[in-house]
């Protein structure tokens, strides 16, 4: 049986095809039409897997757009899916940190990969991919460059976690002539402190898997890991973990 998991996030839509092993995956920008992005990712992942729609037994939707697609055979939240996906990739995982486009969450896992507890940011961009994107925009660099720039710098003190207030704080620092690298390190430190605050609210045990698009940036991972005082395990394709979890849940249930 072939199971497809589709994770329609606020920024990117991911699809994973699974039949006991991962057959293929695809990613599309979500844009303004989550439904269309879901279909595009679905077809593209099937193409890459070399199979047709008739073979597909279950399609599980997750992410903010999980309500959008009529083809879903079931819908599961990204919290349950990230736990399932991260546990599959590394069964030693007991904690998942996920930084998505518009949320960040810390999930505590039972030994079997089910969710024991979780905490998620409130309706605010603090600690999210969107926060980093806006900040990188002010410094006129890419997200990748932001991490590289911050790598060895002493972080400038940034007290605001709110995206709007941090923006004016960063502009103020630039006006005072603070080094760009130091501001970049300060920005990433803000994210790390936000994660630290959330992590204190749930059981936080090794192994810690770090998922979501931001986890691809090695420099950012290093800064967050040192702030948390723990090693972070980054799975291959960290942004596909939610979609993989959805595919696995579909596979389990059929």
């Amino acid at each position: 049986m072939v199971s497809v998991g589709i994770d329609i996030g606020s920024t990117a839509t991911k699809a994973v095809v699974f039949d006991g092993r991962i057959l293929g995956h695809a990613m599309e920008q979500t844009g303004w039409d989550p439904k269309d992005a879901g279909f595009r990712a679905f077809r593209s992942a099937l193409d890459k897997s070399g199979i047709t729609e008739d073979w597909v037994g279950s399609i599980v939707g997750t992410g903010y757009g999980r309500v959008s697609l009529p083809i879903f055979t079931s819908r599961v939240t990204e919290i349950t899916c990230h736990a399932r996906g991260a546990h599959h990739l590394d069964p030693a995982t007991r904690t998942v940190i996920d930084i998505g486009g518009q949320d960040c969450k810390v999930i505590s896992l039972n030994q079997d990969g089910s969710v024991a507890d979780f905490i998620m940011n409130d309706k605010c961009a603090a600690g999210t991919g969107r926060f980093l994107q806006v900040m990188a925009g002010i410094l006129d660099i890419s997200l990748h460059e932001l991490g590289a720039l911050a790598a060895d710098a002493e972080p400038a003190p940034l007290s605001s976690m709110c995206t709007v207030f941090a923006e004016s704080e960063v502009i103020g620092l630039l006006a005072r002539g603070t080094a760009k690298s130091s501001i970049a390190a300060g920005i990433i430190d803000t994210i790390a402190r936000r994660i630290q605050g959330l992590a204190g609210r749930v059981p936080f045990r090794d192994t810690v898997s770090f998922t979501g698009g931001i986890a691809q940036n090695g420099d950012i991972c290093t800064i967050i890991a040192s702030r948390l005082g723990t090693r972070l395990h980054v799975p291959v394709g960290p942004q596909f973990v939610g979609a993989l979890g959805a595919a696995l849940i579909g596979f389990d249930e059929s």
């Binding site: 919290i79 349950t80 949320d103 089910s114 969710v115 507890d117 309706k123 609210r201």
Partner: protein
Amino acid sequence: MTTAKTFAEISTLRERNALAVKEAKDKGLRVVGTYCLYSPSELVVAAGAIPVMLCGTSQNPIPAAEKVLPRNLCPLIKSSYGFAATDTCPYFHFADLLIAETTCDGKKKMYELMGEMKPLHLMQLPQLQDDAALTYWTGEMKRLKSRLEKEFAVDITDEKLRDAIRLVNDERRSLKEFQDVCKHDPAPISGMDMLTVLHNRGFSIDKQAAIDLVDRLTAELREMADTGISPFKPATPRILLSGVPVGIGSDKVARLIEECGGSVVCFESCGGYKKVDPIEENGDPLAAMADRYLQIPCSCMSPNQGRFNLVEHLVREFHADGVVDLTWQGCHTYNIESYRLKKHVQETADVPFLQIETDYSESDTDHLKVRIEAFLEMISRPKRAGKNPVEPKTA
């Protein structure tokens, strides 16, 4: 959703009673408005006046309130003030006197402003539960008694007070029996319908009539439970909703829990299970009232062990699969207490716990849905797999 006949009658009670209050006023009866569970309605009844709950559970008057009050204040305080300022709560409109308490900083400062609109009697509530506090609080009961006697030119005798205590105790008995039907698994009534009943009956001007109505509904629900009628399935996760006061209009989280596939089986809040314990009917009535009211486990008390015990007990009694602890934005006491409550629940009851901090607006609905759905998934996956089997229970 529910097929109980009496429910339809109760669901229109609030609107019908607005007219009844006007008629009562026309006949010369006095009306006393209250906001909080600490307001001793027995004294109002003994003074021959009508105690009514005032409005404070709707988002509508909040923009008007924000012309005066800070935006980052608890929505319950803003809504209560907004209803008064815009004169859109009929019960406030017809009230001759308001009873208020110094439960939290936000409320007590808001009451200073509200006191400019209506005669308002403020009770100074002590925030611990020892003998010295009880002596002080008994003094506050006496001060309210004198105020009511003077305001309405009546004499509140011990005999009248004892009668009032018996009546309000019967109301507590009736409300407890009503809520206890949800100990049945699956519950014969949804949490939203239960909330409608708990909310609307507070606007009733005739306490005895409201008691009879709720008793009738309870009997119908028991019959439904016996014949296995329920809006839920046996596998539906059972949720205890703890924390801040909720009512119709501020029911967002209760509604989302049930829309996402859960069943709210108990409200630990002020309008729910915090108000079911009776007052001692023998001895000095004012002292007995002071004693009972001071024991209410509101988060404004410090320490507040009573609430931890109550939640622990309710999880067991109602066979709850999870606890959702609701905090209104800006409510520091419930917000901070949540950390220790979570620990207590996990240590004593071993059920999952989710704190939600929100306000009355719909702006975070999608965001809350993710958390509530994930919480229900966390509960129902093991429940379905039989790792946490539900034993058959009787009410």
